[in-house]
């Protein structure tokens, strides 16, 4: 490896690194504004100047490639003077409004001016004043503070794939704006707030809410989709004030989707704080004793096999296991967690996870989407596909039309016949899959909902096994799960008797065989209520509570500990950042109360549940890591082919779960999105 000398210390660096990266290797901190690891290099803030031997002038270390034998100094008076000069220019037009600026306390300019700022200004002219720009309901702008680092412009163009932000004008009059001040049409738009090194782009919903040093920070994971983005939950007292991304290069890199970030105001609205009981066709406030007595009475009135349970999209594994134990005690096994009738074969783990892993997308050389819109179903995963597309020009094909995915792809067909052709080696795609070194096939839930869903999944798997494409090193078979709870619950074997009939629960529900329906945080189950007695246990007064006869208030994902498995099968821990509201309890505590009331002493505690969960996850390696690879069993399953049209079920992106439906910010985003769809304009 080549060597570079930094402040007299010789270190080795990898070829292709810049001087700034080499300095970081040597643990020398270089101040910067425009440089960002995940973005292209702009080199326009000049803050990262360092001294290079034999160069008469200081060099911009972010843009200078490191080379063998370079001698870099970062602590000389020349460097100090240069940086002070740059800082003076940056501050010449920067307003002195730190006391009213939301970035205060986490502002790069504020921090660095502590070291390189001058306490007086030599700038006697008027400061530049720039009008505020509209950038949608999430981003508050104060463009006078902008230092033109163009991080936001680069993010929008490179990562988000919506080139809508740009710098107009020139020189002193340069301004950052979206095209004609429209809102940004991206699911990742709010990441520009984190990227902005100053207070030019700040969070609109969080404006003037709190200062960063007042907040308690809890590292947790997101449950809005199945990607399991790593987040940091910031709380003030018990209120969740904001959610920020946490760096995890295996999952979400440094970004999170707007839904992850801004659903948090939904945690405070529409909350269920006490138990409710339906009396005279109206839900009325009650208390735990009354509600649970009624529930047990009802349980005793009906046969065990007439009781059914449905587990919602944001339930953690411990609570689901507690629920299963409760149902074992009731002697019912009518449990389900799918919201739609999509085919899943849970006999082995590779059948329901994203086997290639999110990181693996970057190594792929061929991507085929089958009936999925990753942009809405898993925004962060879509960003990774875009990264592969931009950096390696990976060819992307789709069966079914997902609409704008922020990258170019080719729609092959929208019929299931195409899949049959692929399997029979009659399609042009078969060859491409077989000749690719690391192909990726992503199967969406929409396609598994089809009548031929079983055929599609089993035959594709079979096709890959027969052609030796599934190996220890690479597995191209991927299922794109939409809900955070799904993979974990499949591992806990919640659905009984997999092989016989996949949709027993749904069939019995349609045939009105259930008399008591227990919804555990389940708001998206589509069913017509007749005479069923519905118990809803959840956090929000949403669709589930609407049809319920008893409502039991429980905690949200920020208010309890719990394990979630993301779509790759990575087990991650969600941490408690706040407390359940009012009389609400964690789900497992509610089950304990029910069990006690029933006069049994099979209560559990959280540690037991977690231990049991961890023991029952197949192929489990360790927390936050991918599951171990397992040999795939080659078992042929009979399935029928039906020629159908593949339509990708459109997701109401900002309204997918009870938390986002309660969020005011999400509603605003949704309204704008709908307006754009309706008349093609915005703002």
């Amino acid at each position: 490896m080549p060597k570079i000398t930094i402040n007299g210390k010789e270190i080795e660096f990898e070829k292709g690194m810049t001087v700034l990266q080499a300095c970081e290797l040597a643990n020398v901190e270089i101040p910067r504004f425009c440089y960002h690891e995940k973005l292209s290099i702009a080199g326009n803030c000049r803050m990262c100047l360092v001294e290079m031997e034999k160069s008469p002038k200081p060099i911009a270390s972010c843009a200078m490639p490191a080379a063998e034998g370079m001698n870099i100094k970062t602590n000389t008076s020349l460097v100090e003077k240069a940086r002070k000069g740059v800082m003076e220019f940056l501050l010449a037009n920067h307003p002195l409004d730190c006391p009213v600026c939301d970035q205060g306390g986490e502002c790069d300019l504020q921090d660095q001016s502590l070291y390189y700022g001058v306490d007086k200004s030599r700038f006697v002219e008027n400061k530049r004043d720039v009008k505020e720009k509209y950038m949608g309901p999430l981003i508050k702008t104060q463009m006078t503070r902008c230092i033109h680092c163009t991080r936001c412009v680069r993010f929008a163009t490179e990562i988000a794939g919506v080139p809508e932000i740009g710098a107009i004008g020139r020189g002193e009059n340069m301004q950052i704006t979206t095209y004609l001040e429209k809102s940004m049409e991206s699911e990742l738009s709010a990441n520009v707030i984190d990227l902005c090194p100053v207070g030019a782009l700040t969070s609109k919903p969080y404006a003037f809410e709190a200062r960063p040093w007042e907040l308690k920070k809890t590292e947790s994971v997101d449950v809005m989709d199945a990607v399991g983005s790593n987040i940091r939950v910031d709380t003030y007292n018990w209120e969740v004030k904001r959610i920020l991304p946490r760096l995890n290069n295996d999952i979400n890199e440094e970004w999170i989707s707007d839904k992850t970030r801004y659903s948090c105001d939904g945690l405070l609205k529409q909350r269920l704080d006490v138990p409710y009981i339906k009396k005279e066709n109206k839900l009325q406030k009650s208390n735990w004793d009354e509600a649970l007595d009624l529930l047990i009475k009802k349980i005793k009135e009906v046969q065990p096999n007439e009781i059914a349970g449905h587990i919602g999209d944001m339930i953690n594994m411990e609570n689901a296991l507690g629920f299963k134990k409760l149902f074992n005690l009731i002697k019912s096994n009518n449990l389900e967690f799918r919201e739609k009738k999509f085919y899943i074969n849970s006999s082995e783990k590779i059948n329901y996870i994203f086997n290639s892993s999110i990181n693996g997308i970057e190594q792929s050389d061929f991507i085929l989407l089958i009936g999925t819109n990753p942009r809405h179903e898993a925004s962060m995963l879509n960003a990774r596909i875009r990264k592969a597309f931009v950096q390696k020009k990976v060819p992307i094909f789709s069966i079914g039309d997902p609409g704008d995915l922020t990258y170019d792809y080719k729609i092959i067909s929208d019929k299931t016949d195409e899949i049959k052709k692929i399997i029979n080696n009659e399609s042009e795609l078969s060859n491409k899959i077989l000749s690719a070194k690391n192909p990726i096939i992503i199967i969406g839930e929409s396609v598994l909902e089809l009548e031929s869903g079983k055929y599609i999944f089993e035959e594709i798997k079979n096709f890959l096994i027969q052609n030796n494409k599934i190996s220890q090193e690479w597995n191209p078979l991927n299922i794109l799960i939409q809900n955070a709870s799904t993979v974990g619950l499949l591992d806990l074997k919640i659905i009984p008797n997999q092989k016989e009939n996949n949709f027993t629960f749904f069939n019995n529900l349609e045939n009105k065989k259930f008399k008591l329906l227990y919804l555990l945080g389940s708001d998206n189950l589509d069913f017509k209520k007749d005479n069923e007695f519905v118990v809803y246990q959840g956090s929000h007064g949403d669709r589930g509570a609407e049809v319920a006869d008893i409502v039991l208030p429980s905690a949200t994902y920020t208010e309890q500990e719990g394990l979630y498995e993301n779509l790759e099968g990575r087990v991650q821990e969600c941490k408690k950042a706040s407390y359940p509201i009012g009389e609400a309890l964690e789900d497992w505590k509610i089950f304990n109360r029910i069990i006690k009331k029933m006069g049994l002493n099979d209560t559990t505690n959280f540690d037991q549940l977690r231990k049991e969960v961890l023991n029952s996850i197949p192929n489990f390696s360790e927390l936050n890591e991918l599951p171990k690879n397992a040999e795939s069993k080659n078992s042929k399953i009979q399935s029928n082919f039906v020629s159908e049209k593949i339509t990708i079920r459109e997701l109401d992106y900002y309204y997918t779960n009870s938390i986002s439906r309660s969020s005011k910010t999400m509603s605003e985003c949704r309204q704008i999105r709908q307006k754009i769809k309706k008349d093609g304009t915005n703002n």
Partner: protein, 201 residues
């Protein structure tokens, strides 16, 4: 020079006419296929020519679609360069050079005349006739300072009197001829042609 603003009244549609479409073909030949987007500047110029010396938003969108680049990229270029007009200008568009050589030779007097005769502010269409004026940076004719550019023509070696005449002629829609107003041929010396160093100091 403050940030250029787009005009409030925007035409709905813009399309290159057949003559310009041929020119576009010619322009595209100058760039490799993969760098087609580099044609954005000549195309903007063409659009400005076709649309009475200013570029409407519709034209920017049209060009963006034509080159398959985002709208904002065209918008950035159009706002960056001062010679693209984003609002209507007069039939006679007077650009007064006010960079140092012209200023020393009295460009400020020309500016004052423009304010009196045409409009008190830059980029305002005059009440009488159809003229507008603006201050610009060096137009590269320092040797015949002070000078103005009216549409495509340079009017050079001006003083207060003949500038007044020129402006009045524009208001009457009978423009005087361009060139030097001290009788010079191009930028040749004024009095006597000195060849090969004869009579040189």
């Amino acid at each position: 020079m403050s940030l250029k603003k787009v005009h409030e009244d925007q035409p709905k549609d813009f399309k290159f006419n057949s003559e310009n479409l041929k020119k576009v073909e010619e322009i595209f030949k100058r760039y490799p296929e993969k760098n087609k987007k580099s044609a954005v500047m000549p195309l903007l110029y063409l659009a400005q020519r076709q649309n009475d010396n200013w570029i409407p938003l519709a034209a920017m969108k049209y060009i963006a679609n034509y080159l398959s680049i985002p709208y904002i990229s065209v918008y950035e270029v159009a706002t960056f360069y001062t010679m693209y007009n984003l609002a209507p200008v007069g039939k006679y568009f007077i650009q007064v050079c006010t960079t140092t050589p012209c200023l020393i030779r009295g460009a400020d007097k020309i500016v004052k005349l423009c304010k009196d005769k045409i409009s008190p502010n830059e980029n305002e269409i005059s009440k009488q006739g159809s003229c507008s004026w603006m201050e610009v940076e060096c137009l590269g004719a320092c040797v015949s300072a002070p000078m103005v550019q009216i549409n495509d023509d340079y009017y050079e070696d001006l003083d207060e009197k003949n500038t007044k005449d020129i402006l009045e002629s524009l208001i009457k829609d009978k423009p005087l001829k361009p060139g030097s107003y001290r009788g010079r041929k191009n930028t040749a010396p004024e009095k006597k042609l000195n060849t090969n160093g004869e009579n040189h100091a």
